[in-house]
Symmetry: C2
């Protein structure tokens, strides 16, 4: 997630938004990454449901962080956005757990 | 989610597993449903991040419930599976919120 990648990602987003087939490919890529994360966690002994939830939360955190990072100033590094997005989601996940 | 739907769903899953293009369509459908839920929650005043998280959790709960229901006895009604899957996910979400 360097400034160079940022410029490329910015162009990519404009293209993806305009082309529904490419947008679908992006969605499928996210679905595959989510499955891969869940499988990897499961192989490491995490129970299946926790693995699926963690994979979904992790990918959502990445997507949220990425979107915020694209809207931020050009010299902003990516990692703090990832940490903040994950923390934001964890705070909200805690709220869901209260019946 | 009636016994009739169950039989159809069972056949559908066999076909989906065997055909990657149909599997991808299913993944895209899930992605669209997730977006629709998030948009609907957002329109009702839920903040964007909570809406996205709730949509993801909700769809995951549905998928988990559906998978368990397909493996259960033929006369089992669906709703208890949905409630259990959602509660299981909420319990795990609470664990993620502890840093």
């Amino acid at each position: 997630m360097t400034p160079q990648r940022r410029a490329a990602a910015s162009r990519r987003i404009l293209i993806l938004t305009a082309d529904s087939e490419l947008h679908e490919r992006g969605q499928l890529k996210y679905a595959r990454i989510t499955s891969s994360i869940a499988d990897a966690l499961h192989e490491r002994g995490v129970d299946d449901l926790t693995a699926q939830l963690a994979a979904n939360l992790g990918l959502l955190a990445f997507r949220v962080a990425f979107e915020r990072w694209m809207k931020a100033g050009e010299d902003e590094p990516f990692p703090p956005f990832a940490v903040t997005a994950l923390n934001d989601l964890r705070t909200r996940a805690a709220q869901f757990s209260d019946p």
